[in-house]
Subunit: 685 residues, 2 copies
Amino acid sequence: MSNVAWSEVAPGVWRATVGEPEPFTPLSVVGCEPALAGLNELPQAPFPLPADSVSAEVGPRRMVVYLPLAEDEGIFGLGLQFIKVNHRGRTRYLRVNSDPQEDTGETHAPVPFYVSSKGYGVLVDTARIVTIYCGSCTRRDPRRPSRVDPTGQPSAPTPFSDSVEIALYAPGVNLYVFAGPTMLDVVRRYNLFCGGGPLPPRWGLGIWHRPHSWFTAQQVLAVAQEYRRRGLPCDVIGLEPGWQSGCYPSTFEWSPERFPEPAAFVRALTADRFRVNLWEHHYISPLSKLHPRLEPHAGSHTVWGGLVPDYTLDEPRRIVQEQHEKEHLALGISGYKLDECDGSELTPHSWIFPAHAAFPSGRDGEQMRQVYGLILQKLTYELFRRRDRRTYGLVRATTAGGVSLPYVLYSDLYDHRRYVRALCNAGFSGLLWTPEVRTADSPEEWVRRWQVVCFSPMALLNAFQAEAKMPWTYPEVEPIIRKYMQLRMRLLPYFYSAFARYHFDGTPPFRPMALEITSRPQAVAAEEMPLLAIDDQFMAGDSLLVAPLFTGETSRRVYLPEGAWYDFESGERFSGGQTITVSPGLEKIPVFVRDGGIIPLMPALPYAPQAGETVPLEIRHYGTAPGKFRLFDDDGETFAYERGHYRWIDLEVTIAPDGTQQGRATRPDAGWVSSYGEMTWRFIR
Amino acid sequence: MSNVAWSEVAPGVWRATVGEPEPFTPLSVVGCEPALAGLNELPQAPFPLPADSVSAEVGPRRMVVYLPLAEDEGIFGLGLQFIKVNHRGRTRYLRVNSDPQEDTGETHAPVPFYVSSKGYGVLVDTARIVTIYCGSCTRRDPRRPSRVDPTGQPSAPTPFSDSVEIALYAPGVNLYVFAGPTMLDVVRRYNLFCGGGPLPPRWGLGIWHRPHSWFTAQQVLAVAQEYRRRGLPCDVIGLEPGWQSGCYPSTFEWSPERFPEPAAFVRALTADRFRVNLWEHHYISPLSKLHPRLEPHAGSHTVWGGLVPDYTLDEPRRIVQEQHEKEHLALGISGYKLDECDGSELTPHSWIFPAHAAFPSGRDGEQMRQVYGLILQKLTYELFRRRDRRTYGLVRATTAGGVSLPYVLYSDLYDHRRYVRALCNAGFSGLLWTPEVRTADSPEEWVRRWQVVCFSPMALLNAFQAEAKMPWTYPEVEPIIRKYMQLRMRLLPYFYSAFARYHFDGTPPFRPMALEITSRPQAVAAEEMPLLAIDDQFMAGDSLLVAPLFTGETSRRVYLPEGAWYDFESGERFSGGQTITVSPGLEKIPVFVRDGGIIPLMPALPYAPQAGETVPLEIRHYGTAPGKFRLFDDDGETFAYERGHYRWIDLEVTIAPDGTQQGRATRPDAGWVSSYGEMTWRFIR
């Protein structure tokens, strides 16, 4: 066992090379470029761990890294975890897996990056499956007093452990440590080191609908028209497997029966202000024209009878990108839903290439499975970058380094509490997650799910199954669904600006309470530690605290951090630093605004504004504290913002000595055509 | 990839060495000596796979073996599997784990040995975690026609695969192939190659009771006396954790508060014809006198705060054996229940040494965890062999090679259907399993569980928990419980003889229907393949077919193999080769006797006969076919049978031309003191 040597590779980010790392890693797949401008804005920080506190051993097959762990330290993150928030005392087997029913650590997005409550983070940049023992194994140390119950009564199964131990089958690895000082700073640093969060197109933050898998073009158009007829907002129509001539495995080609005129179909939807998203997976059917061209570049094993192209090589990537450009993007397709890139060994199906599969590039199945979602995101994202058009899509698997890729995770699991917990956890790990709505057993459940999805990275109704429902399926609650769909649209400028911050300063647009609580100046007391594991309420943007109710609940407890908080709808004031109980009724999801919070709201349009369109804003200020909000302004569609074509409009409320509020907005420079028009200030106190 | 070379190492058993096998394997831990006498009795058979059909690759970390798989071939076994019987199309991750809730392959006893419906078996002798892809991954092969649906409709997730692929992280491995010709012959060959099944002491097949964990000696004695007072049979009282001065971790020392006079306590129970079994696990408490002596020989990590001794070394084994001999066996202890040797990473606890733990012998945690159960069985078994006293105990983890060790597996899972399925599956893999009774939600469930456990390797009531029940807890069904406890005692000569066959000819005493069905002369037709996966009925000994009902059921379907079958109680005749429906009422578990079946029954004594005691027999013959039964006769307690001190008494029924039956029993040679007295023949037709 030997200590590892650290060197600073970006502000507040240190790397240590252990053994001989394999070159194929998540960061290398994404080609992450640290967002240095953002990193330079973060507080300067020294190396956050004691000197020489990290050691490693590299054996002939397995390697292990040992990191320090304090008694009162919590371990957070590790990807899209559905079951736990604080992983202290748990062993996390970080394998990509579509069936994370048990608390093993396996998930669609097992990110080998953790954030400590002590204000530092650790990333293992590997395409190998990693097992992280988060204080779940205890090294024998005769110098350490025994924690065994002195009366002989049963002791804790997992007694105090003073180390995190990381094991993997690899000849070496690059480790990264991220400084804080706060947990949120750690997350920002990680996000920025990976290039910063994605800035979705404005339309991506509108309402999404995915019609039934086997609908024809006519049936899909009818669904879209029904949204417009009813005046319900919708920005994106997503086609499920049946758009293809063959699926499971995929052809990538339009079904001549169901979609005989794809160009006209996409034109019709586009004319009605819809974007079209295509479902696909990358197990290539023998029925596809691409099959013979891809076969020489495919892995040793098939999935669903389809080829698995080795996209780490240029040629197969070029072949598929060319086909996608010509047959999809040229028609106006706005993005993809990248399904089935996670794999499963569970009932009723076993479907994935094995870990020992061989690929032409020399990678094996273990590596490919761990990063396959990343590879597909990058493959499709590049197509849109070339056209200077942003995209926003869905993906079912990802891992470290994918922060900057504009894809939102989803799942088939559908347990609502786990969906909300995942929304909390995603914010630790540079992930976006949608608790998508599909169906419900009751109008109550239908409402509760809609209320949450409208406060998430993607407001998606996925009606692909026979049992799926429409927003108007339960007429008795349709007004509530409508209210939240419209609120989603009204909040677009707020959410869009939150995503811009994700891009520029690394702040996750949706984040767990732990990142909020630990951002206050005073340290977290031992008895407050459970607050860091809150898994059923979260921050949406900087000022909104969302506390969903679940089916069967008529009231719930909500922890409000220090300071005053205001009910988003009624303006009722609550004192923070305590847990309150609310009983909001079905028509309402509890949303609280922090004292001084500024929320810009646009009209409840049926679709997001396009480039060149202008919307008026109602700018709400809550409470009695002064406030600031940075409103992001750009074309909402292209990468022009990367070339400087954007502005931050500073909204500020000051409080005069007599308590009267004044709101001010900076004006962009002359010549800048803003997407925001008239601003009306509203003060709620 | 290169072909592997086979050489015959025992009759019908071939070995191939791939790469450079590690010397530490399950077979080496057990020190298996093939039972050549039994092997020589099996049919001669050629190497059962096509020449050069097995290939392997050994990489720098991972190795893979490829074996052939026919389209209509089923894969059975792989240990104590709770969820599937035919593993075809599934990936089995064979890791020892106490929480096998999902169908991953993980279980308390993941045996890397499978039996093909084609009549051969494959064993991977390794202490490493093995992943076996049972036709669950499909190699790309341009010469093989695509199985993809030609219309583009979704195809099977796991299409036809022509290989079993076995992957592990190891530099090499020894593979074994076992010939048939029948599946039962394969299982016999595997069992005999591993030394043959254990012959339990006769008392081991009686009724077992484990009182509450925290009972005092007085309370335990009261429970035992209550059995005698009620005239309910019981042979073994098993003490749970509270007998120790400290448990979790273990001291191995008697609690001075609860068991102040252990010698007198054991004497009292022994006088009343009870045997005493001790619960323990081998994570050694700092409160134990052994701790300082074992510390130099312990692994790098603790479990439950206790040391994990490296028993692959002589010294720690000697230290613990000496203590056990002096403090337990010398007092009259009859055996052990070896708990917690499986480990878990799941909620609510994570408790096991990690895979990367280091042990003084150079083994690592992965290896030690996989064989830890085997090691503990051997450690304790040796103590009883030295005293020439048989033992029968419980263990919560085992793997390949443990066939000959007299320990029965158990679990905390408690799903009744899974318990019965495990009883079926155990018969493929040289395992013994008890579907132990603990508690029930209703009198019906209580009865249904008792009915099954009385037809299993160990008839155990484990009342260690607060919510546990006694046989008389539900007075309204106590007569039914009593009936089956007494039937268990009556069947002792039958079951004991079945175990003797397990020892001498490798036939499992309890076995799945697949082994019965495939033993008929004609091949299994394709449409009959689902019969091989029957998971809710099983054979108990050679002639009894047991078809349990589960809570909520008033009737069930039972598959009766070819030939006539007779209801064990009523004698009603049923034609086989079909599935019938029975509605037996709560007071009865359907048990069928094969035509010609001979069942020797002793009186329903309150405890098993000791050496030197004689019991009369009622010998039943069912049906109209002639029949034979080999009745095993020995002292029932020592290893004298290994020195030839046993006899087989041949029971035979012949049918005269007029249909009258005649029963005959061979007489052992003069001077042999038989444990069986007067025999009364009873013919049921």
